[in-house]
């Protein structure tokens, strides 16, 4: 038979025929045309076939054999329209088929019930399906009756509803309290599709919900948990993956669960093995792996011992990897290298870096982001940074290009990587300067998006760490003193902190560098002073205090400028911030304050005597004396050095 193009007159006509045989044949024809065939589905939807089939469904009588036949066939058609095509789901819902399908769940004919449950499950696989309201009592009764059913298609539907509609913690708790976990656990012994549906819905209820997790692990004296663990050895790869995802939800909710090293190791091995699956399971396995090892040093160590990096590397060598896989693998490698040096060394020695560099220019934004995130964690290694592995054109050129990516998440991730790789402990940073990096970074410090501003300032701050004067000048010229002052007073506290750390690094190094703080009539110094007087955040103040301390280690003029900042009016006035921070509860802040005193009283500088007199007048010398027995050793030792310098001018 030739492939017949659907023609409106014919098929719509026949679908609405009053003759049973013609109608049934038409419905079957549509069914066999559309199953598996996306294009056919779309063209039939356009023709208006969905409402016609929905009408046939609504009119048929489930009690007669003919009616049941019509229902089974038209339900299959509706389910297929809803499978994998959003337009289909929309058409099915618009045609009003949904309530009919629900109604058919309670008829006597099992074939009809199966068909309706199957179709509804298809619909619930789409985001467009109507949200199921768990907080209505009658809804929960209905759902529990589904989950309680002997019929596997009905329990599958129940699980599908949970997976589709349970999103908030409240909804998880409602389901939990209503006893749905107990019901779902029953499905763990069922057929493959039942097991999978149960596992996925259990994971949905447990995700980020420690209360639900505690309840689950104690269910049936831990038998439920053991069943899930058992299913990690199932013969079907999808089941193994879902069982792993369940266990990961449990593991991630609290460190007290699944501490057994055997289970942790097992999870790692299973997920690594699942990577070999050529389909969706293999794709999802690397994302699951990521969430398993993220932030957990012990699991990263186990994964390292399981040769995880080699395994991911082997997969990356396949040139036909799709973008989802690439993204997943780079994210997994990123998490794997986030804490342990041994992982980063392995990464470097396998030269995964070459493959990562290719991914930096991938068409998909998600892949570019993942590659940048991976580069960021791999470059957390001081050993590798110091060896100069990252500061070369092959990496820096594409990274700098990503700074003007159209996708913000790519830009942020690229900045994250750059902020690390610029810490290469060399003074000139010529590679990144020649690639136009400064211009891009400075541009992003003016972005409307605060995470871009933060990361751009952070990158510049790290870039001028131990940089020479030429490099600092190049950045300062582009950035300008007034912009630095603006960043110090940015609305976002984290940006303020990085901006003050930037100033601190600018004025470190050779004596000339102190002058940066005095450009444009000291606009930067003023901004630093303002933050020190008003900011409530310790982290911000510490950076500002070290900026001040570094300036105070300069020449006579610099030291006097700092005195001016600390004591603005000659004699009276409110208590100075320095005096306040010398008494801070935070020892790091006291330390920084003590260093300022040490630098202001350095005996080699001619004005030291005068400054000591002033410090004494304001009661700061007395404060320093008390600090000579500070409980914090760092503070105590600095105070003693300052005291020694003060005494050398004669104690009075």
């Amino acid at each position: 038979m030739p492939a017949s193009r659907p023609s409106s007159d014919q098929i719509l006509h026949r679908l609405s025929s009053s003759e049973y045989e013609i109608k049934l044949k038409a419905i079957r024809e549509v069914k066999n045309q559309i199953i598996g065939n996306r294009t056919k589905k779309l063209s039939y939807i356009k023709l208006g076939v969905v409402p016609a089939v929905a009408d046939a469904l609504a009119e048929a009588n489930a009690d007669s054999d003919n009616g049941a036949n019509l229902i089974v066939q038209s339900t299959a058609v509706i389910g297929s329209f809803a499978c994998g095509v959003d337009e289909g789901v929309r058409a099915v819902l618009d045609a009003g088929a949904f309530p009919h399908l629900i109604r058919l769940l309670s008829v006597a004919d099992e074939k009809v019930v199966d068909a309706a449950a199957r179709s509804l499950r298809m619909i619930y696989q789409s985001k467009l399906a109507p949200k199921f309201e768990f907080n209505k009592e009658e809804n929960m009764d209905f759902l529990l009756s589904l989950l309680r059913s002997e019929n596997e298609n009905l329990t599958g539907l129940g699980a599908g509803i949970v997976i589709h509609s349970c999103e908030t913690r409240d909804e998880q708790n409602i389901l939990c309290h209503a006893g749905s976990l107990e019901k779902l656990v029953g499905g763990l012994d069922g057929s493959m599709s039942q097991r999978d549906a149960s596992l996925e819905s259990i994971a949905t209820i447990l995700k980020n919900n420690p209360g639900a997790v505690s309840k689950f692990v104690e269910l049936q004296n831990g038998r439920a948990l053991r069943s899930v663990i058992e299913l990690t050895r199932d013969r079907f790869s999808r089941t193994r993956l879902l069982a792993c995802l369940c266990l990961i939800c449990i593991k991630n909710s609290s460190s007290c669960f699944l501490q057994d090293i055997a289970i942790k190791t097992k999870l790692i091995y299973i997920l690594l093995e699942l990577l070999d699956d050529s389909g969706q399971v293999g794709e999802e396995a690397s994302f699951a792996f990521s969430s398993l090892v993220a932030g957990k040093e012990d699991l990263q160590k186990l994964a390292f011992e399981a040769n995880a990096i080699d395994k991911f590397y082997n997969h990356l060598q396949n040139p036909e990897l799709n973008s989802k896989r690439l993204e997943g693998i780079f994210l997994a490698l990123g998490d794997l290298c986030s804490k342990l040096e041994c992982c980063r060394s392995r990464f470097m020695s396998l030269q995964v870096l070459n493959l990562l560099i290719n991914a930096l220019t991938h068409d998909e934004a998600n892949v570019r982001t993942a590659a940048c995130i991976c580069l960021k964690t791999v470059s957390r290694s001081i050993k590798n940074l110091s060896a100069g592995y990252f500061m070369n054109e092959r990496i820096v050129i594409p990274l700098v290009r990503l700074l003007s990516d159209l996708c913000t998440s790519v830009q942020v991730a690229a900045l994250g990587a750059i902020s690390n790789i610029v810490v290469d402990f060399t003074p000139n940073k010529s590679t990144i300067i020649q690639c136009g990096g400064i211009k891009e970074l400075v541009h992003l410090t003016k972005s409307m998006d605060s995470s871009l501003r933060l990361n751009a300032v952070w990158s510049l701050r790290n870039m001028i760490f131990l940089a020479d004067k030429m490099c600092k000048e190049a950045i300062f010229m582009e950035l300008t003193a007034s912009s630095v002052a603006t960043l110090i007073c940015d609305p976002e506290p984290s940006v303020q902190e990085q901006a003050l750390a930037l100033v601190r690094n600018f004025v470190d190094g050779c004596m000339d560098c102190v002058e940066f703080a005095f450009a444009e009539n000291g606009i930067i110094l003023d901004a630093v002073g303002r933050q020190l007087k008003k900011s409530p955040r310790i982290e911000i103040i510490i950076q500002g205090m070290y900026a001040v301390s570094n300036i105070a280690s300069g020449n006579e003029f610099h030291k006097e400028a700092i005195m001016q900042m600390i004591f603005p009016q000659a004699e009276s006035g409110p208590q100075s911030f320095l005096s306040q921070y010398l008494q801070s509860n935070d020892s790091r802040l006291r330390t920084s304050a003590a260093w300022i005193i040490v630098n202001l009283t350095a005996p080699a500088s001619p004005g030291a005597f005068g400054r000591i007199a002033k410090l004494r007048n304001f009661g700061l010398v007395a404060q320093i004396k008390r600090m000579a027995s500070d409980p914090c050793m760092d503070v105590k030792l600095r105070a003693r050095v300052a005291l020694g310098q003060i005494i050398s001018f004669g104690d009075s």
Partner: protein, 241 residues
């Protein structure tokens, strides 16, 4: 860092331990084999698993009666599955597709690769029957859109359409698509998908057990010399050479 003071000692000592292989004589090996007890019921289950998975309904029924081994799947479903398999094997692909859809409409909707292979088989059958025009239209209407969805489908489609370019199909470089083995391949793919949808393993256990036997023998052969089974059909122990 430091200057060398003492010449570095010679540490390299090559381990030349020519590990000689252990030899296991036949009597010892046979004694060991005899000590391994395998339950008759397990063997029967293995046979039954093979029969139902491969779809030998009558043999399975007989075996069930004779040995009392219950099949782990409803024998009625085997008949449906075999009907599908047979339809593909005899070239009635459209019929097979309808039967699969009656069995469970989800199978082809959620298994694009299988669906494509069935459609490809339909195309092959059209070409085999010399229905060139129809084949072209079918390829364009039904298969080309699948190729747009998936690169590897497109390549397979191109290979299949290449059949049309040759007058003498027996000399065509992609002629193997017309072989009966292509039908069998497609049929076994459908068979496996139906089995999976019924939560049954798609492959019988017996062949993988035999593969494991060969693998284990190879592993052992690296360390020891022992009487091994080389011909699986006779399972005769052969002394090492």
């Amino acid at each position: 860092m430091s200057l060398f003071w003492i010449v570095v000692r010679q540490l390299a000592e090559i381990e030349a331990m020519a590990a000689s292989k252990k030899v296991i004589p036949r009597e010892v090996w046979e004694r060991k084999l005899n000590n391994v007890k395998i339950r008759k019921e397990d063997m029967n289950k293995l046979v039954m698993n093979f029969l139902v998975t491969e779809g030998f309904v009558e043999a399975a029924e007989k075996f069930c009666k004779e040995s009392g081994t219950e099949p782990d799947i409803d024998l009625a479903t085997i008949t449906d599955r075999m009907a599908v398999k047979k339809a593909v094997q005899s070239g009635n692909v459209e019929d097979a597709i309808e039967k699969v859809n009656d069995l469970n409409p989800e199978i082809l909707d959620t298994n694009p690769q299988l669906f494509f292979h069935l459609q490809q088989q339909r195309l092959i059958e059209l070409i085999r029957n010399g229905k060139v025009e129809e084949a072209l239209e079918f390829a364009q209407e039904e298969l080309a859109p699948r190729g747009e969805e998936n690169q590897s489908f497109l390549e397979e489609l191109e290979r299949t359409v290449a059949l049309l370019a040759f007058e003498d199909i027996s000399n065509c470089p992609v002629g193997e698509l017309l072989d009966i083995s292509q039908r069998l391949k497609t049929a076994s793919e459908v068979n496996a998908a139906i089995l999976t949808s019924q939560s049954h393993e798609k492959d019988p256990k017996l062949p993988s057990l035999l593969k494991m036997l060969i693998w284990a023998q190879n592993q052992l052969a690296e360390k020891a010399s022992f009487p091994r089974i080389n011909d699986i059909t006779t399972a005769a122990l052969e002394d090492p050479v």
